[in-house]
Amino acid sequence: MEVALETHNLTVSYNRRPVLWNIDFKIPVGQITGIIGPNGSGKTTLLKAIMGLVKPSSGYCKLFDQDLKQVRERISYVPQRESVDWDFPASVMDIVLMGRYKSSNLFKRINQSDRDIAVEALEKVNMLEFSNRQISQLSGGQQQRVFIARSLAQGADLYIMDEPFVGVDAATEEAILNLLTEMKNQGKTVIVVHHDLQTAKDYFDWIVLLNTRLVAVGPKDDIFREDLLQEAYGGKLNVLSKVGDLIKEKGFSVRERK
């Protein structure tokens, strides 16, 4: 199995309290993988750790068997829609063009080929007619599609999306699903954080079941079992939470040396 993403013994803490304990799994290339778990199970934190936005207390992540720094241009990240202020003075096109910014061409101006790529990305999410629209005038679903278009404009091999299906209309949901299939057919890898168990089985090939610790990982048919779902959604592990609280209260760290 060719591995797109590997997390090794990953522990992440906020204010000392671990929100992810020793997460250890591999995700194959060319599949649509859903990271599933109840609210507060650390799904977004996991993505942030993968994307280098939070520093793990221990462990590491590898993408295509390399550090994030070496493969940055092959990875594309779609943050949660609510993570930005949509009243920012910018048009849809402005935002999608941000997908063409690269660390290697800091001073380079956006050129025509960047614009062509952005137009193509907008077309793929059915948003081309809105390209001059001010972003504050978009509906939630349209905002989500703009974020996905920005990510497509990057031209990556691995797409990591944080809750793209939350609060979107039926048209957007369908547009995203079609895109996911198309990406898969092109051999791209997609990892999606998702909280709705009902739809997860239809959307994804692989599942990572999470609830502050890894519950299970594998092809969806192996994962959608009563006992595993019960384990993930049946509440947090009591002792684990208590120890997490203790670490915070007493001012310890989750590793002896840091």
Binding site: K48, M51, G52, L53, K69, R72, E73, I75, Y77, P79, S83, V84, D85, F88, P89, A90, S91, D94, I95, M98, Y101, K102, S103, L106, F107, R109, I110, Q134, S136, R150, Q154
Partner: protein
């Protein structure tokens, strides 16, 4: 008036210098401040401005000179120090950012005032003029001062242009910038440095106390006029330059007046004007929309009166008296008359003296509204499972809003109903 003409003629080279200089300072502060505004760091500028005072005083005490370059070095050091401390406090303690800003601002400013007072009482003749840093005094700047400050201002504008698209991204979505590998820490450092410098040169014109206004107010006003970042920054710079111009004018005409408060008055005037008069986003535009909506509702309600009476009497074209119309619906007589006259100007009703009748055009309009009302009642009843006696008030409001497109969707979803939940007929326009 003569003062203004003399000022505007720029015959005095010093006037020319100071005016252009303060305009550049105003524009620079506005440009840099646009990013503080968008990054929701409006108060940080205020903290920097206040923290610069002790730096200026210390630089003077140590060097004994009022050379602007020396003072700016001092200003820059304490300005940056305040940023680092604010950041440190909010990162390592439980205190939130606003509290950290409040603490740093007052501590630095208090210390600055202490130093300033002790300098003033030291009997050092060279100190005269340092107190101008509190409220600003454009006219007292020398040509050399202006040269130094405006050069710094122009450099800042150039740096901002150079990093424009990166600053845009870190203002909108810093996490994404980090993920694609932009040096976000470095860019933030540059932006912070530019802000400190813009404040350090800006206080020459408006003073420490009111500097935050020069930073944030232009952007706040400009935001009302446009949805484009570039245009917004440009308008903010124009606002900044205009108030710089105004400030130096006051400084010459009324030498006893401090410049800062007047610059701020001018800025407030521009910004409050924007809040009121800007198209679309301005308050006035919003009131106008509200007013138009109210008129539409009134007109449509009056048309419905004719329809309801006509439906009951099975005669839509008869003349109606004001009294008869008033009986049908709870409307004030003045409202009704206003509505009738509005409708008359659109040829949807006619009158013969005190009797009013609906025209064919008006009847079609009335049918459309009644139809939307009853379709919506039907929708609430069938889809939201509301009882027939709970749907009327809702439909009274929604009937004025539904577009033809939604009307078609409603018809289709309800399978082209002919009667509403109260068994009244849903009318349609006969071609």
């Amino acid at each position: 008036m003569n003062d203004l003409l003399q000022f505007l003629s720029f015959s005095d080279p010093n006037v020319r210098f100071v005016t252009i200089g303060t305009m550049i300072l105003g524009a620079t502060a506005a440009m840099v401040g646009s990013f503080s505004f968008l990054r929701k760091k409006a108060l940080v500028g205020d903290a920097i401005a206040h923290s610069i005072l002790p730096g200026v005083c210390l630089a003077f005490m140590l060097s004994g000179s009022k050379d602007p370059l020396v003072l700016i070095v001092g200003a820059f050091i304490t300005g940056w120090l305040s940023l680092i401390i604010i950041d440190g406090i909010s990162r390592t303690t439980k205190l939130k950012n606003d509290a950290a800003i409040g603490i740093v601002l007052s501590v630095f400013f208090g210390f600055g005032i202490l130093l300033l007072t002790s300098i003033q009482q030291s009997g050092n003749a060279a100190q005269s003029g340092l107190d101008k840093f509190l409220f600003g005094k454009a006219a007292s700047l020398t040509q050399y001062d202006i040269l130094v400050f405006s050069s710094i201002g122009i450099v800042l504008i150039l740096v901002l242009l150079l990093f424009y698209k990166e600053f845009k991204l870190i203002s909108f979505n810093p996490d994404y910038a980090k993920v694609i590998g932009l040096p976000v820490k470095f860019l933030e450092f540059i932006l912070a440095t530019i802000t400190v410098l813009a404040v350090a040169v800006g206080i020459q014109a408006v003073g420490v106390v009111l500097m935050a206004a020069l930073l944030i107010t232009p952007a706040s006003g400009a935001r009302f006029w446009t949805h484009r970042l570039g245009t917004m920054i440009f308008i903010a710079m124009v606002f900044g330059a205009i108030s710089g111009f105004f400030g130096s004018f006051i400084s010459y005409v009324a030498p006893s007046m401090p410049t800062g408060p007047w610059v701020v008055m001018c800025l407030s005037f521009l910004t409050i004007g924007s809040i009121w008069f800007a198209p679309k986003r301005g308050m006035l535009a919003k009131y106008r929309v509200q007013h138009q909506n109210q008129q539409k509702i009134l007109k449509e309600n009056v048309l419905k009166l004719f329809y309801h009476i006509g439906e009951k009497e099975n005669d839509f074209h008869a003349e109606r008296s004001i009294e008869q119309l008033l009986k049908t619906r709870d409307l004030r007589p003045t409202e009704l008359k206003k509505g009738l006259h509005l409708l008359k100007s659109e040829n949807t009703v006619r009158n013969k003296d005190d009797k009013w009748l609906i025209t064919a055009k008006g009847l079609n309009e009335a049918i459309r509204i009644i139809r939307l009302h009853r379709l919506w009642e039907m929708y609430l009843n069938q889809r939201l499972k509301l009882e027939p006696d709970h749907v009327h008030n809702d439909a009274e409001a929604i009937e004025h809003i539904i577009t033809p497109e939604i009307e078609r969707q409603l018809e289709k979803e309800l399978n082209y109903p002919t009667k509403d939940p109260h068994q009244s007929i849903i009318p349609y326009i006969k071609e």
